[in-house]
């Protein structure tokens, strides 16, 4: 186990290094720079700004400098948001996104797993058809459609919920619904197919034959085995949901990391692009390792190597 984790960490560092390098050079390949868009700035001022942020140096030197600071955990200073470091920006924006995202993931799990299991148990019935119909819709409808429809009906037409900000608990309802819609449907579908698979296994018949009650055989044997695909999906899903969806954050005006990320790319805020990308990549890698370990805990037959 310990050896496995060490190996995964080594691989993660390598992947992270490659992602950093790739992003850094790709980003700098783009003609123009952070100060090109502002027309008011004179050529001299531009040069001065470039010098201040070290953008006038040769690319390889910039790269070495950046990597050196990165090793010390310093993600640099934002070029566009004067005086704020990337670490600060992530530290203030990530909790906002993570809170909304975390609730959404919990909702998706709490709704998706039971729905999928019920659909599998009542296979072919109207209940199964109904659940699968909604699950298919949930996968087909883009998030901006969900967001705008929710907003139109719940806030503008019926005036039930506030449209923007995160000042009270009511503000969370719509973003969480919009964010959880897709994962809930996906989990329900995954859960249904893996549950059907498990229910047909011999050990389920054995469990019933040796006199276990229906509920006990379901919770002890079926659920535990059927949940594995959901756990696999959970890793990347957690990473993406926690870092925030740009669409949801834009429509509901939530000051999260997702909108910061897109804003940094369009605004060419180089250090912020690098910082958010590294943060996201790291989160994905860490989540995947956690998922692999969780796998082992849920299903002791799995050997980690």
């Amino acid at each position: 186990m310990g050896k496995y984790i060490l190996k995964r960490i080594a691989l993660a560092v390598l992947t992270l290094f490659l992602v950093c390098t790739l992003t850094f050079f790709l980003m700098n390949l783009v003609p123009g720079g952070p100060f090109m868009a502002e027309k008011a700035i004179s050529a001299q001022a531009q040069a001065a700004m470039n010098e201040k942020y070290g953008l006038d140096k040769p690319l390889t030197e910039q790269y070495v400098n950046y990597m050196e600071r990165l090793l010390h955990g310093d993600l640099g200073v934002s070029v566009k948001q004067r005086g704020r470091t990337v670490n600060q920006i992530i530290a203030t924006k990530f909790p906002v996104s993570a809170k909304v995202g975390g609730i959404s993931v919990l909702v998706a799990l709490a709704v998706g797993i039971p729905l999928g299991s019920v659909a599998a148990l009542k296979r072919g019935s109207w209940l199964d058809n109904l659940i699968m119909f909604f699950a298919t819709c949930g996968i087909a409808v883009p998030s901006f459609v969900v967001c705008t429809l929710l907003m139109y009906f719940l806030s503008l037409q019926w005036g039930l919920l506030p449209t923007y900000g995160l000042s009270s608990w009511q503000n969370y309802i719509m973003p969480v619904m919009a964010l959880a819609f897709y994962p809930t449907s996906y989990i329900a579908r995954l859960m249904r197919s893996s549950m059907l698979d498990v229910l047909g296994q011999d050990y389920m018949r054995t469990a019933r034959a040796k006199g276990l009650s229906q509920s006990k055989s379901l919770f002890k044997h079926a659920l535990r085995n059927a949940i594995l695909p959901v756990v696999t999906y959970l890793g990347p899903m957690l990473a993406y949901t926690l870092t925030g969806s740009f669409v949801v954050e834009k429509i509901f005006t939530i000051p999260g990391l997702g909108s910061e990320f897109i804003g940094s790319i369009t605004g060419r805020d180089y250090p912020l692009i690098m910082g958010t990308t590294i943060f996201l990549a790291m989160l994905i890698i860490v989540m995947n390792v956690i998922v692999d370990i969780a796998y082992k805990v849920i299903d002791p037959r799995i050997k980690l190597k």
Binding site: V247, I262, L280
Partner: protein, 350 residues
């Protein structure tokens, strides 16, 4: 002939009845009742029985007719601005048009109204779905081509080739795709813009540089999922006897991949490609929603929805039309893909 003669078990005497000519009834059992069905026929038969998949197919065909054929003889064009007809509700006419109608002229109704610039909304939605469908189809074709080649090479050769190729896939998986799309769109802007000036490349500026970069990004990034699936298939297929047989007969690696392995995972390929179409449409609409999709005035379903949000309170139908169309397109492609999977590749169900 009252009692059958009891035969000595050790006797070599033959049973005469076994040598009687067959009567009509017995002959019937040898007649082939049903034609033998091949892979395609069998799959098609199963597909035709699947009502949901067939309805989805009909909807897809209908949407294609509306987005590719109807616009060419529709009385309005997607960029034509009609003065005095801004923000009309569905099926209403501007004052000028009412005057023209009173004078006996025929005016084609604005089925979905008009937008803030006086452009007929129905044609814009149709053109938007044309863009979405084109993106979906072209991107999936690219993904199919690159993903199946890459995956089959990695799976077929195995060993360190596989290890290297799959590490590259892992890295591509980890870099956020939106970042690469936006960066590439900016990188490609100048070279593509210059190319558009050349004779014969004028279409680039119509479709928009961003659109081309979306295609390139799909080609560069989105094949990884396909590559993984194909690799898994190839790894199990290459252990089959017929591959050994082909090798024994002196077939080259390329021939084995092309003729034997890829043809045997064709079911998986079709299904994965079909399911890729909605996901490509999904991504395109998302990008257009962010404002980095198609070039104006060309509409896309995503950009139509994004524009409509500002006027959501007063003109909700401008939001509903593209939202419903895109959901229907993605939904029917998904359901059709599921049907294809059940018909051609039942093993893939999990």
């Amino acid at each position: 002939m009252s009692e059958p003669i009891k035969k000595n078990p050790l006797s070599l005497q033959l049973n005469v009845e076994d040598f009687l000519p067959a009567d009509e009834n017995e002959k019937q059992s040898l007649v082939i009742m049903r034609e033998s069905v091949g892979f395609w026929k069998d799959g098609m038969r199963r597909l035709r029985k699947n009502a949901v998949a067939m309805i989805s197919l009909c909807i897809i065909v209908l949407v294609m007719i509306f987005s590719f054929i109807v616009p060419s003889f529709y009385p309005y064009s997607y960029e034509q601005q009609i003065r005095g007809a801004e923000n009309l509700s569905p099926m209403t006419y501007s004052e000028k048009e009412q005057a023209a109608m009173a004078a006996g002229e025929k005016v084609f109704p604005h089925v979905l109204g008009t937008d803030g610039l006086g452009r007929d909304y129905a044609i814009r939605v149709m053109m938007g779905s044309r863009i979405s469908l084109t993106v979906g189809l072209v991107a999936s074709a690219l993904i199919l081509l690159i993903g199946s080649l890459y995956g089959s090479i990695a799976g077929f050769f195995g060993g360190w080739v596989d290890l290297m190729m799959m590490r590259i896939v892992d890295i591509i998986y980890t870099v956020p795709d939106i970042l690469i799309i936006i960066l590439l769109a900016t990188v490609l802007k100048y070279p593509l813009g210059n190319l558009a000036m050349q004779p014969g490349f004028g279409w680039i500026s119509v479709v928009g540089v961003n659109m081309i970069s979306i295609f390139i990004v799909f080609a560069l990034l989105y094949w990884v999922g396909m590559a993984r699936i194909v690799r898994g298939q190839v790894m199990s297929l290459k252990e089959n006897e017929y591959v050994t047989a082909a090798r024994a007969l002196g077939a080259s690696n390329g021939r084995i991949i092309k003729k034997h392995i890829l043809t045997n995972c064709i079911g998986t390929l079709i299904v994965t490609t079909t399911l890729q179409i909605p996901s490509a449409i999904f991504t395109e609409s998302f990008l257009s929603f962010l404002g980095i999709g198609v070039a104006k005035p060309m509409p896309s379903l995503g950009s139509l929805a994004a524009d409509a949000i500002k006027g959501m309170r007063s003109f909700p139908y401008q939001l509903f039309a593209p939202a419903i169309v895109i959901s229907i397109i993605i939904l029917s492609f998904n359901l059709f893909g599921d049907g294809l999977r059940d018909a051609f590749d039942p093993k893939l169900k999990n």
